[in-house]
């Protein structure tokens, strides 16, 4: 800013003496990291009864192949790692696991979900590779990281909720998670509108989320959602969920509404979720088949 007085102040600020212990304090703080878990094993830990993981085939010579086999544990409906894309080239790293659903009797549903999963992963991989190649072609010292996989949110005799997440670290980036919930008994994909008698759920759920947001912000000043306030631009304010808002059903048979990073809160809040108490929805539910 070329302002002498401000520069003077800055100079004084930079002269704040650094204590000699700083180094050792920083180093010991950094070493207190907790040990890392391995992703696949972590997913397997959640599995109750019927999920197999296999990994298969890989594509180009730049890909480091990774094979992981986890034994079969009985089966009704399975979720497998159908394919895994891995790239490790310095600052360019991708790990994209493609899930596939298996042994669903409704084959049309199974195929349409699997096709969707594969197409999305392929697109993600292609995007990554072309971005990487273009950066390398221009000799830029880029940094690109994509991590994608899935997690089983709920696995009961009746329901299976699968979440697919994408974590992209590029020029502008975000985490997104998309869920699919399958009724295993009736072999159906459960959609949000299908749970309710009419569209009034949009408003009921939105209002409940708004009050949860306010409550959380009141309790914890570090939390922040984009709701009406002098510090949030009107255009960013959360007012209502989408008709087909991302959701899953948790093992307690409660509806959980999920928002991607930045969707309703600043980036540091990450992906946010709201459990909607079933009693709030009682009047508008088609039945208590899924939500209790």
């Amino acid at each position: 800013m070329g302002n002498n007085k401000i520069d003077q102040l800055k100079k004084k600020y930079k002269e704040i003496p650094i204590p000699s212990e700083l180094d050792s304090i920083v180093e010991s703080a950094l070493q207190k990291r907790s040990p890392k878990k391995h992703g696949i094993r972590w997913v397997a830990g959640i599995v109750a009864a019927g999920i197999i993981f296999t990994t298969s085939l890989n594509v180009s010579p730049t890909l480091a192949k990774s094979l992981e086999d986890i034994p079969v544990v009985g089966s009704i409906v399975n979720v497998l790692v159908f394919k895994e894309y891995r790239v490790e080239e310095g600052n360019y790293q991708a790990d994209i696991k493609v899930p596939a659903i298996d042994k669903l009797e409704n084959k049309a549903l199974e195929e349409s979900l699997n096709e969707k999963y594969l197409a999305e992963s392929q697109e993600l991989y292609d995007k990554f590779m072309s971005e990487m190649e273009s950066q390398q072609a221009f000799g830029q010292d880029g940094h690109l990281q994509v991590d994608s996989g899935f997690l089983i949110k709920t696995e009961t005799d009746q329901l299976l909720s699968i979440g697919r997440y994408v974590e992209e670290i590029v020029a502008s980036s975000a985490v997104t998670i998309q869920y699919d919930t399958i009724d295993k008994e009736n072999q159906l994909l459960v959609t949000l509108p299908s749970l309710f008698k009419d569209d009034s759920y949009v408003e009921v759920i939105s209002n409940n989320i708004l009050s949860q947001m306010k409550e959380q912000m009141k309790e914890d000043p570090n939390k922040m959602y984009f709701i009406e306030s002098p510090d949030v631009l009107d255009t960013d304010v959360f007012t209502t969920i989408k008709r087909d808002q991302n959701f899953y059903i948790n093992p307690n048979n409660q509806l959980v509404i999920s928002f991607d990073e930045y969707e309703v809160a600043p980036g540091y809040m990450g992906v946010t979720e709201f459990v909607i108490p079933t009693k709030e929805l009682e009047d508008i539910l088609v039945s208590n088949q899924y939500l209790k």
Binding site: K5, L9, I16, I25, A29, I169, L233, G267, Y268, G270
Partner: protein, 172 residues
């Protein structure tokens, strides 16, 4: 919810090692003493490596600064040394904080600024954050940051006659 990754931790560790002195000074600017500032740096690092809130490596800087600022403010709150005032009730007459600085009008003026205003000056001009980054660190929108910088400079103006006000609005 997402698994943590070794490379993420490494990225954080590298960043912390490179910038530890900046974090220390920032913490010091809040608490004005050495032991507390060291504690805050330590706490901030631990929060950073156990937290899952970083999703974007490009936001690493503002994310970490945010943790340091929050940790410092929490510390001061516990100490009850600070009351957070809203913009409208801020008066220009503030009692001196414990004054470790040399007795220079300008520095005193800066130290006597309410935290909301001091933070924006420290982050914007001393730590060289962009307006957008300051906004991210302090959870404010960009216009609020600009307003606060403007007001802060106005308060300091009594001591800094030659501040050029026009520059604020072009610095975003």
């Amino acid at each position: 919810m997402l698994k943590r990754k070794p490379r993420r931790d490494k990225m954080i560790a590298d960043y912390v090692m490179q910038n530890k002195e900046n974090f220390y000074r920032l913490a010091y600017s809040y608490v004005q003493n050495r032991e507390d500032a060291l504690d805050i740096v330590q706490d901030s690092i631990q929060k950073a490596i156990t937290s899952d809130t970083l999703k974007d490596s490009n936001a690493l800087k503002s994310w970490f600064y945010k943790i340091v600022v929050h940790t410092s403010l929490d510390f001061l709150r516990r100490r009850k040394k600070v009351t957070v005032l809203d913009d409208t009730t801020i008066q220009l007459h503030f009692p001196s904080h414990k004054d470790h600085y040399r007795d220079i009008d300008l520095e005193q003026a800066l130290n006597q600024l309410p935290f909301q205003y001091r933070s924006v000056i420290v982050l914007r001009y001393f730590e060289d954050l962009k307006i957008e980054e300051v906004a991210e660190v302090l959870d404010l929108n960009i216009n609020t940051v600009k307003t606060r910088i403007y007001k802060a400079l106005k308060i300091l103006r009594e001591h800094i006659e030659d501040i050029d006000f026009e520059e604020v609005s072009h610095n975003g």
